[in-house]
Amino acid sequence: MIETIQFTINGIAVGCIYGLVALGFVLIYKAGEVVNFAQGDMMMLGAMLAVTLIVTYKLDYWLGLAIAIALMMALGALIDATVVRRIVGFPQFSTVMLTLGLGFILRSAASFVWGPDARTLDTPFSAGVWRFMGVTVSHTYASLIIGTFALCAVLFVVFKYTRIGNAMQAASENQLAAYYMGIPVKAYLSLVWAISAGVSTCAGVLLAPVALVDVNMGSIGLKAFAAAVVGGFGSIPGALVGGIVIGLVEMYAGIKLDTAWRDASPYLVLLAVLLLMPQGIFGSSIRKKV
């Protein structure tokens, strides 16, 4: 029983990270209908930057994190403004290929700068554990869950209660109407890319103490896809719930079945969801009008 709770907590913690990366997908998808296959690589780049700032340049953890987020937000906005904006209105296929190509570029740029070695990151809260009734929760895992929920709360407040957030929602709901209302849609799309890059940087930094930080860290993006689809692509709470579902499935598949199943389970869940309930848990049902 205690073990079960333990595994559940760890599964939720890892799932939160999937959820955060999925959140990055969902934000960009909602705003511009671009599926960003480079999201995992953006997370990797953010984590690499943060680790470099904190470990190599010996900055304070929070300062390093803030600088890394700021840099990645700038990069996200730059990618949108210079590359992604050019293919607005092209078929879906172009956006898929474009973001795949961007992912390649980011990954090889990172391996040019940082090389193939894996790095680790010590956090100010990585030492201790909490114990309740035999269940141990390490501070690292707690930080994943708390960090995720804090970030989501901030995003929720921004989207719900600020002028900027409302404008972004308007732009993602109906671009043309937003233009007519005087909202600078292009600037807001770039802003969404910036936020998405910032969120994935946070995900990377939160994940860093649990996993190794290396150039291939971005492959988590695939599992985050599963999370986004399970939650219903385009739903922000859905991304988080989907992430937790995938995290739990992966954790239990690893324990109850053997490793082959652990690695394949997120994709099997993804396929099952796509085939049986393509709108996901939180997605709105969509009917095509001719």
Binding site: G89, M97, A264
Partner: protein, 358 residues
């Protein structure tokens, strides 16, 4: 500019447009047949690899370029073909039987996967096929009794009726024969009602449906045909690399297949040749260029994926019709020589069309 004036019905049925085509393709064919006389074994090997990629590229071209479905799962079919072929050779099935059998097996798999998956659209299809390929890679890696698991598996050399085909020229001729037969078959197939249905689905699914095209059936057929050719590529590739490891058939291979069709030219059989040449030649060109680079750059393993990415992005933005599209523009420029207008191939300005429908 040449206007073909049709006087006989056979001209509509003919695969070539006019005598010039026949002349140039014959020269190409004769050149290809005599290449082993002048080329070293390394170049010949690279050329065989190119021809193998052409076959797989055709498969991707059918599903992506002609039926308009995004498939990120081609590697699964290539892997299936490769492993099936290697296993069949190992248990003693002759090469001539095993090659089509492995391709057919991949084709059947494509049909089985295509039926449910083709209900998905756009990005969902891309993600679904990617997930399928990831599952397939796990199966290759963990089904140790058959695939040899992570240790990999050796492939026996091809042999037809006691004649070993493992040397450079003979394997080259095998690849050449298939890389000529497959495109001819595909071209003919695409001119049939099935091919026209696929193109109709690509251009507008709703219009195709209202004309009575059975969308699910034709999409599954496209997947199956594509998987068949991918399986054939896999079986040949197995001989080329002669040792199968699961990571060969990872997501990277699927992405390379897509890159092949995008860079080659979507929706053109010629594009498969151009794209295959690009995919095979780029690493060769990079390694040739390395001696002119400073040590610190030439030692980097990441040059190749980075360059692939940059070229892909540039093609998507500046030349979405690929190398074949560019070639046609160049041809058109000379055909109408002083009269070329900038507007001849100008792309229309487009606006975001939502796929989220309410």
């Amino acid at each position: 500019m040449r206007y073909v004036f049709k006087t006989r019905y056979e001209q509509d049925l003919s695969l070539t447009r006019h005598g010039g085509d026949v002349f140039w393709y014959s020269i190409l064919l004769i050149g290809a047949a005599f290449l082993p006389l002048v080329m070293g074994s390394y170049q010949l090997g690279e050329l065989s690899l190119l021809l193998i990629w052409v076959i797989g590229g055709l498969g991707t071209m059918i599903v992506v370029g002609y039926s308009g479905q995004i498939s990120l799962g081609q590697a699964a079919f290539i892997g299936l073909g490769a492993y099936a072929h290697a296993v069949m050779l190992k248990i003693g099935i002759p090469f001539l039987l095993s090659l089509p059998a492995s391709a057919l097996l991949a084709g059947a798999m494509g049909l089985a996967i295509g039926m449910p998956l083709t209900r998905l659209h756009g990005i969902y299809l891309a993600i679904g096929t990617l997930a399928f390929a990831s599952v397939a890679e796990q199966i290759f890696a963990h089904w140790e009794g058959v695939t040899g698991g992570l240790r990999g598996m050796a492939v026996q050399p091809p042999e037809i009726m006691g004649l070993k085909l493992d040397s450079g020229p003979s394997f080259y001729y095998l690849c050449l024969a298939l890389a000529i037969a497959c495109p001819l078959g595909v071209i003919n197939w695409l001119r049939s009602p099935t091919g026209r249905a696929l193109i109709a689905i690509r251009d507008s699914e709703i219009a195709a449906k209202s004309m009575g095209v059975n969308i699910v059936y034709y999409k599954a057929v496209a997947f199956s045909a594509s998987a068949f050719l991918s399986g054939l590529m896999g079986a040949l590739l197995a001989h080329k690399i002669s040792y199968l490891a699961p990571e060969t058939f990872g997501p990277l291979l699927s992405i390379q297949m897509l890159m092949l069709v995008v860079v080659g030219g979507l929706g053109a059989v010629h594009g498969a040749y151009f794209g295959a040449a690009f995919i095979v030649m780029l690493p060769v060109a990079i390694s040739a260029a390395k001696q002119f680079m400073p040590q610190s750059i030439s030692q980097q393993p990441a040059i190749e994926p980075g360059l692939f990415g940059i070229i892909l992005v540039l093609f998507i933005i500046f030349e979405p019709t690929g190398m074949y599209g560019r070639w046609q523009k160049i041809k058109y420029f000379f055909a109408v020589f002083p009269l070329y207008k900038v507007a001849s191939f100008r792309r229309q300005k487009t606006y975001m069309r939502t796929e989220r429908l309410k």
